[in-house]
């Protein structure tokens, strides 16, 4: 990176941080610190909600996802608008009427203390670890491609977030997120424009879309043509997106404090609702745009030299090893096929321009054959890397977009795109730390240990809690770098809790006769079942292996059913 890029990156990040601290300079009570004094406008809430969900990995991995698997990942977000409407109608009015600080506070009013504490505990476990990963995930990519030191990157990134989150609380988080989201959108749009401008002169945008389609990258909607073809393991299709995605979005936006806190800070019920619906309107188009950039990046790399494997440090290691010549031979074969593919793509465009349908079909068939051969050769290269180093990171999807940024964007724009990635990481981490501190103070410290302290004590405790969670997150990020395989496990672990959490809230909202003890034990049983669905397929091959999106549905339905059963069989006066 050039000095100009460093200047743009550091300047952008620093300006946002200073702005956040400036906007939150008058906070002197716990409501101001944890809920922004309830004075947020809908556009701040909307952008804040989007920024919280969009982590650095969203912008690093999503284009790579389209590059590899096509745009069908967008279906994952189809549940968001549906969930936004449901939450606006059902959840927000209740939270506003009860004037709660956390979603879990409501559970005590509806059920009892133990159910509130259980939900808060589930949130603290999953979100606490996730906060560490939000710092670690982009750091590991910067390390791989820029040679930054991973520990130093984690600590610096964590400390920058920590400073403004501790000082300004929710207000600093929301105001910085507004600016961060602006930087992210501008940066991504510019990257998309440059990518299209960098296509060869004889390939127009229309041609690029045509190629992406013929190469299977515009598979936005995938749906089985009959029930017999329905595959429950398939993570991204129309039905898993609409059903599983709705449950996931309901859990995330309705019960995860890192999101609930965004709209609880609204000036009024109307502001909160509009902010949430704003997210419902713009989320799917935004993800479409990011994935479309990925599809265009795929076309770009069909006409430009591309590495067979995007993880540079692993490639360097294998080349220096005794199987290096064998690996280079594989790369040479891959390059030959790559050139052949470029020529065929030009022939495809030519055939299309001449209106020769049969030649288009024939060329497409040839392209698919060469693409399959390229995939096989690439896999051979990856297998070599794995044989040489079984612990090697062979997933390079999240490195493709950053490789493009570093090698093909002009000076200055590289710095801006780096600021985009850092902004995305900071916006998610700050919201997570802020919500972790809120839950710790409101649901545990204030509720269980210090019921009648004054405002200054709570404010000070909130700042310490934010600081403590920040240090925990940084520590976890440093620890995660030692345990590569744990990251995937922790990612899945987070998704394992959402269904149960949602189930507790669904029972609270819709099953008025259910009481605390029933839902408490139902939640524990549901959690055991969800864990069973995750663990058994790994130890018993005959057990059905289902996509993780369905865990949300299973957990939620299990809590509802078991709550009803426990309530029916419990003595009449049971609490």
């Amino acid at each position: 990176m050039s000095y100009i890029d460093w200047l743009v990156m550091c300047g952008t990040v620093l300006l946002i941080v200073v702005y956040g601290i400036y906007k939150s300079r008058h906070i002197n009570n716990i409501q101001g610190y944890l809920l922004s004094g309830k004075d947020m406008k809908w556009w701040t809430i909307g952008l804040s909600i989007m920024a919280t969900q969009a982590s650095a990995i969203t912008f690093l991995s999503t284009p790579g996802q389209a590059f590899d698997d096509g745009m069908r990942f967008v279906q994952f977000y189809f549940g968001v608008p549906i969930a936004m409407v449901i939450i606006s109608i059902v959840v927000i009015p209740i939270f506003h009427r009860l004037n709660v600080y956390t979603a879990y506070e409501y559970l005590e009013q509806r059920f009892d203390l133990k159910t509130r504490s259980l939900a808060a505990f589930l949130f603290l476990i999953s979100r606490g670890m996730a906060a560490g990963l939000t710092i670690y995930a982009p750091a590991i990519i910067f390390t791989a491609l820029l040679g930054w030191q991973i520990d130093l990157t984690c600590i610096t990134l964590g400390l920058v977030v920590l400073i403004y989150t501790v000082v300004g609380g929710n207000k600093a988080v929301s105001h910085t997120q507004k600016q961060q989201m602006f930087v992210i959108l501008v940066g991504m749009i510019l990257a998309g424009i440059v990518m299209i401008l960098k296509l060869p002169p004889d390939v127009s945008l229309g041609d690029a879309v045509f190629i992406a389609g013929k190469m299977g990258k515009l598979n936005i909607i995938t749906t089985p043509s009959s029930w017999a073809e329905f595959d429950i393991k398939d993570r991204y299709n129309l039905w898993s997106g609409l059903i599983g995605g709705t449950f996931l979005a309901l859990s995330y936006f309705g019960t995860d404090q890192s999101q609930v806190q965004r709209y609880l800070g609204g000036k009024s019920l109307t502001e909160s609702r509009i902010g949430l619906l704003f997210n419902g309107i713009f989320k799917v188009p935004m993800q479409f745009m990011i994935l479309f950039i990925g599809a265009m990046m795929f076309v770009f790399y069909q006409f430009n030299s591309r590495p067979m494997f995007f993880n540079t440090p692993e490639r360097t290691q294998i080349i220096a090893s005794d199987v290096g010549p064998q690996y280079l031979e594989t790369e040479k074969k891959y390059e030959t096929l790559h050139l052949e593919k470029s020529n065929l793509l030009r022939q495809l465009l030519h055939a299309r321009n001449e209106g020769d349908v049969s030649r288009v079909a024939q060329t497409q068939e040839n392209l698919q054959r060469i693409e399959a051969q390229s995939d096989t050769i690439r896999q051979q290269g990856i297998d070599l890397i794995k044989t040489y180093n079984p612990r090697a990171d062979t997933n390079d999807l999240d490195k493709i977009f950053l490789t493009f940024i570093l090698h093909h964007l002009p000076v200055g724009l590289i710095g801006l795109l780096m600021a985009v990635i850092l902004s995305a990481s900071m916006s998610s981490t700050s919201a997570e730390l802020n919500s972790l501190a809120t839950t710790t103070i409101v649901d545990i410290y204030k509720r269980l240990f210090h019921k009648n302290d004054d405002q200054r004590d709570y404010l000070s405790a909130s700042k310490w809690a934010t600081f403590g969670w920040g240090i925990f997150a940084i520590g976890f990020a440093l620890f995660a770098s030692e345990l590569g395989n744990l990251i995937q496990a922790v990612n899945i672990l987070g998704s394992l809790f959402y269904g149960t959490l949602l189930g507790i809230f669904v029972v609270a909202f819709f099953m008025k006769k259910i009481r605390g003890t029933s839902v408490f034990y139902a939640a524990i049983l549901a959690e055991v079942i969800v864990f069973g669905f995750y663990i058994f397929p790994q130890i018993s091959p005959g057990f059905p292996d289902i996509g993780f999106l369905w865990f949300n549905l299973i957990g939620c339905v299990a809590v509802a059913i078991f709550s009803a059963i426990f309530q029916a069989i419990s003595p009449k006066n049971h609490p």
């Binding site: 809908w42 967008v74 189809f78 608008p81 549906i82 936004m84 409407v85 606006s88 109608i89 879309v209 045509f210 992406a212 389609g213 013929k214 515009l218 598979n219 936005i220 909607i221 129309l238 009024s268 019920l269 109307t270 502001e271 609702r273 509009i274 619906l277 419902g280 309107i281 799917v284 188009p285 479409f288």
Partner: protein, 46 residues
């Protein structure tokens, strides 16, 4: 204390949306239109 009409509050902020039901229909309608457009887009370039 008088309670404000939620639809009235919404109209004050976004005048072209008459009431909440219209807003919800707009969000869900947009999703339906997007799915149809995406489907047509996928098929057109298959």
């Amino acid at each position: 204390m008088t309670e404000t009409d939620p639809n009235e509050e919404l109209r004050k902020m976004i005048p072209f949306i008459k009431n909440w039901n219209t807003f919800y229909a707009l969000v869900l309608g947009e999703l339906a239109v997007l799915i149809l457009l995406f489907y047509a887009f996928s098929k057109a370039f298959e």
